[in-house]
C-alpha cells in the first residue's frame, strides 16, 4: 500500500516534469534561414468572433505567397523573402498573449498585424507596451484608437477607419441622413464594447445635427427582436440604426419590416440582409469598405485579386467577407514591403514607421495614415432601395 503510494507520487512528479519538458521542447525552434523578414499576425481565425480575423489571414497568406513567388523583395541591395507567422488566437486574450510572447521573444518578429478584437488587444497591450520601439503592432481593434499617440505607444498603428475625428466619416453620414429629411433615429445595438463606442460617437453627432436619438441595447446572441422593435416602432423613428453583424441584421431587418419599420441607416455588414428583404424595405444604407460585386467590373486590381483568390484557395470568392480585407490584410503586407524598400531598412522600426506614415499606398484601397497613426481609406456607401435598386457612392476621404 505504501509502496504504491510512493510509486504513484513519483509517477505523478515524473508526469508533471515530462509534461513541462514536452511543452518546452515543442517551443524550441530550429535555426532561422538568412535574409528572411518575419511578419506576425495575431488574429482570431476560428471561433465565434472570427469574421475579421479569418479574412485578414486569408489575404495575408496570399500576399506573402505572391511576394515570395515573385522572388522576394530588395532592400538596400539585399534580397529578402517574407515569413508569415500567424497563430490562431481563437479570440482568447490569454492565448494571444502567449502567442505574442513567442513572436517577439523567440521569433524576433518586428512587424505584427492584428488584432481586430478589442478584448484580445487589451489583453496583449500591457505586454506590448514593454516592447515599444522594438516592433510595430498594426491592428484594427476599436480600443487601439484610444491608445494611439499616448506615451510609450509609438509601436501602435490602427488599420481601420474611424467614424469620428477630422477624417472620420461619421459626421458625413449624419449630414447625409439629415439631407434625406430624417428627424428621428432609433439605434438598436449589441450591448458590447463596439456598440458602446458607436453610441458614444453618434449620440453627440445626432444632437448637433438636431436629430432625435433613441437607444436600445440587446445581448449578442438574441434572435427575436419583436418586443424591442415594437417598442421602437411606437417611438416612430424615421430610420433604424441597427447592430453591426450579418447574423443580427438578417433577423432585425426581417422582423422590423414585418411591423412597418422600413428604413435602415449605417448598416455595417454585407448587402445580404438588405437584398433578402428588398421588397419590404424602403432604404437600406450600408457603410462598406468596398462593394466588391461592382468593383470587380470597374477596378482591374480588384478583378485580379478575386481571380488570384479563387486560384489560391480553390474555392468561391467570399464577397460578403471580402470587404474585411481592408484591415491588416493583403494591401498592408505590400504597403509594409514598399515602406521597407523606401526606408532602405528591414530592422529600423522607427524609420519604417515614419515611411509608412508619410506614404499613400494604392492597392485594392487607397491607404494612408493620419498624424496619430490611424488609417484613412476610401470606402463605399451602398444604398439599397425598395425593389433592390442599388446606388453606390464612393467616398475618398481627404
Amino acid at each position: 500500500m505504501r509502496n504504491a503510494f510512493y510509486r504513484a507520487t513519483r509517477l505523478r512528479s515524473v508526469t508533471l516534469v515530462a509534461a513541462i519538458a514536452l511543452v518546452a521542447g515543442l517551443n524550441v525552434l530550429p535555426a532561422r534561414a538568412q535574409n528572411v523578414v518575419k511578419i506576425g499576425e495575431i488574429e482570431a481565425q476560428t471561433g465565434a468572433l472570427n469574421t475579421y480575423g479569418w479574412m485578414s489571414a486569408q489575404g495575408m497568406r496570399m500576399a506573402v505567397d505572391e511576394i515570395n513567388k515573385a522572388g522576394g523583395f530588395e532592400v538596400a541591395g539585399k534580397k529578402y523573402k517574407l515569413q508569415l507567422i500567424n497563430p490562431d488566437t481563437q479570440g482568447n486574450p490569454q492565448q494571444a498573449l502567449i502567442h505574442l510572447k513567442q513572436m517577439l521573444e523567440q521569433d524576433h518578429v518586428k512587424y505584427v498585424f492584428g488584432p481586430f478584437l478589442t478584448n484580445v488587444y487589451k489583453g496583449i497591450e500591457p505586454y506590448a507596451t514593454g516592447f515599444d520601439g522594438k516592433f510595430l503592432l498594426m491592428g484594427g481593434a476599436t480600443a487601439i484608437h484610444f491608445d494611439l499617440g499616448k506615451p510609450h505607444h509609438g509601436y501602435l498603428m490602427r488599420t481601420w477607419n474611424w467614424d469620428a475625428g477630422p477624417s472620420g466619416f461619421g459626421s458625413l453620414m449624419v449630414a447625409n441622413l439629415k439631407k434625406r429629411g430624417a428627424k428621428r433615429v432609433a439605434m438598436l445595438m449589441q450591448n458590447d464594447a463596439f456598440g458602446h463606442v458607436a453610441r458614444d460617437i453618434y449620440a453627440p453627432l445626432f444632437k448637433t445635427a438636431g436629430i432625435a436619438f433613441d437607444e436600445e441595447w440587446f445581448e449578442p446572441g438574441t434572435t427575436d427582436f419583436s418586443s424591442v422593435l415594437a417598442k421602437i416602432a411606437a417611438w416612430k423613428p424615421d430610420y433604424v440604426f441597427p447592430g453591426y453583424t450579418d447574423a443580427v441584421l438578417y433577423d432585425i431587418v426581417r422582423q422590423a419590416t414585418e411591423i412597418g419599420l422600413t428604413k435602415f441607416w449605417l448598416v455595417r455588414g454585407s448587402l445580404g440582409p438588405g437584398l433578402k428583404n428588398k421588397d419590404a424595405l424602403d432604404d437600406y444604407i450600408i457603410y462598406i469598405p468596398k462593394y466588391f460585386e461592382e468593383a470587380q467590373n470597374s477596378e482591374p486590381k480588384v478583378k485580379k485579386f478575386i481571380a488570384d483568390y479563387k486560384a489560391f484557395y480553390k474555392t468561391d470568392f467570399p464577397y460578403d467577407q471580402a470587404p474585411l480585407c481592408s484591415s491588416s490584410c493583403y494591401d498592408h503586407v505590400y504597403m509594409l514591403v514598399d515602406a521597407m524598400k523606401k526606408a532602405g531598412t528591414v530592422d529600423d522600426v522607427a524609420k519604417v514607421k515614419q515611411t509608412l506614415m508619410s506614404t499613400i499606398y494604392h492597392g485594392l484601397w487607397n491607404i494612408r495614415y493620419d498624424q496619430t497613426g490611424e488609417e484613412v481609406f476610401n470606402f463605399d456607401v451602398v444604398d439599397i432601395k425598395k425593389g433592390g435598386k442599388i446606388e453606390v457612392t464612393h467616398i475618398n476621404p481627404k
Binding site: A8, L11, A19, T46
Partner: protein
C-alpha cells in the same frame, strides 16, 4: 507530506529553462491551478457541483482592481477586500442554496443562475465596471522583503509568486481535507441525508466548503487579472465555469493537487497542438464526456492505477 517533495523540481525550472513562453504558460497553469484546486474542494470533496466558481473568480478580479482604483490601496489589501466581497456574496448564495436544501442538479442550476446574474450586472454597470470594454490594469503589485520592495514584474517573479501561492492553496486545502472538516465533507459527498442523520450539520459544512472554495477562486482571480493585465465580463461566463470543471475532471477529483495537471493540459494544449477553435471545442466536449464515462478518476487516478498494477 512526502508528496511535497513533488514541488521542489518546479522551483528549479526557471533556473534551467530560460524560455519565457514556457514559463508564461506555467504561470497561467499555476494561477488556474489555484482556481481548479479550490473548486475541487467544493466539487470533488464535498460533492457539490457549483457553477458559481467563475463568478467568484471574476468578482475577485474586479473587486481587487476596483478597490485599488477607488480606495487607493495596494494589491494585497485589494485582494483581501476582494476575498471579503466574494465571501459575503458566497455566504448569501450559499445560505440560500443550502438552507433550502437544494440538491445536486438544482444546486448546479441555481448557482449558474446567480453566476449569470452577476455577469449581467458587471456587464451592464458601465459606470463602475466599464462593462464589456473591460478594465486594463496598469498598477503592478509589489512585495515587501527585508531588502526593500520588489515590483512583481517579469515572468520569473510571477512564476515564483504564483507557484508559492499555489502551494499555499494546496497545503490549506490538504489540511482542511485531512481534518475533521474534511471527513464531514466526505460524508456529505457520499450521502448527505445519511450524514444528516449521523448528526453532521450538513448545512454548515456545505457552506464552509463553498466559502473556502470561492475564497480560493477570488485569490486566483486577483492574480490572474494582474498577470494578464486585463479584466472583462467573460471571466464570469459559463464557459469559464465549464473549463474549470473540465480541468478538475481531467486532472482527477480524488487528490488535492490533481486538478493542477488538468490546468496544465488545458492551458498548454492550444500551444502544443495547433488546432482550430472548432477542434478545441470538440476536445473540451470529449474530455467532459470521456472522463465521466471512462476515466472518472482523471489523469492522477489513471496514474495511480498504473502504479498499483506495475
Amino acid at each position: 507530506m512526502k508528496s511535497s517533495l513533488l514541488w521542489l523540481p518546479l522551483f528549479a525550472v526557471p533556473l534551467v529553462l530560460h524560455n519565457d513562453v514556457v514559463l508564461t504558460i506555467l504561470v497561467f497553469t499555476f494561477i488556474l491551478g489555484i482556481l481548479a484546486v479550490s473548486f475541487n474542494l467544493i466539487f470533488g470533496y464535498t460533492g457539490q457541483l457549483s457553477l458559481f466558481h467563475a463568478a467568484a473568480f471574476g468578482i475577485g478580479a474586479y473587486a481587487t482592481e476596483l478597490a485599488m482604483a477607488h480606495l487607493g490601496v495596494s494589491f494585497w489589501i485589494g485582494m483581501m477586500i476582494a476575498v471579503l466581497v466574494v465571501l459575503t456574496i458566497s455566504l448569501l448564495v450559499g445560505t440560500i442554496c443550502f438552507r433550502f436544501k437544494l440538491k445536486e442538479f438544482y444546486f448546479a442550476i441555481v448557482t449558474f443562475a446567480f453566476s449569470e446574474m452577476a455577469r449581467l450586472v458587471i456587464l451592464n454597470w458601465n459606470s463602475f465596471t466599464n462593462g464589456s470594454l473591460g478594465i486594463n490594469l496598469t498598477a503592478k503589485p509589489s512585495i515587501w522583503l527585508p531588502g526593500g520592495a520588489i515590483a512583481i514584474e517579469g515572468t520569473r517573479i510571477w512564476y515564483y509568486l504564483s507557484l508559492v501561492v499555489l502551494i499555499l492553496t494546496v497545503t490549506v486545502c490538504a489540511r482542511v481535507v485531512h481534518s475533521w472538516m474534511g471527513r464531514c465533507f466526505a460524508a456529505i459527498r457520499l450521502n448527505d441525508e445519511l450524514a444528516d442523520t449521523l448528526g453532521i450539520d450538513v448545512f454548515r459544512y456545505k457552506l464552509i466548503s463553498f466559502l473556502i472554495g470561492n475564497a480560493g477562486a477570488a485569490v486566483a482571480g486577483a492574480f490572474y487579472a494582474f498577470y494578464l493585465g486585463y479584466i472583462e465580463p467573460a471571466y464570469l461566463s459559463i464557459d469559464q465555469s465549464l473549463a474549470i470543471v473540465a480541468m478538475v475532471l481531467l486532472g482527477g477529483r480524488d487528490t488535492v493537487a490533481g486538478p493542477v495537471i488538468g490546468a496544465l493540459v488545458l492551458t498548454a494544449l492550444p500551444h502544443v497542438i495547433n488546432f482550430s477553435a472548432e477542434t478545441r471545442i470538440l476536445v473540451y466536449g470529449l474530455i467532459l464526456v470521456f472522463t465521466i464515462l471512462v476515466m472518472p478518476k482523471g489523469i492522477t487516478g489513471a496514474i495511480a492505477r498504473l502504479a498499483r498494477a506495475v
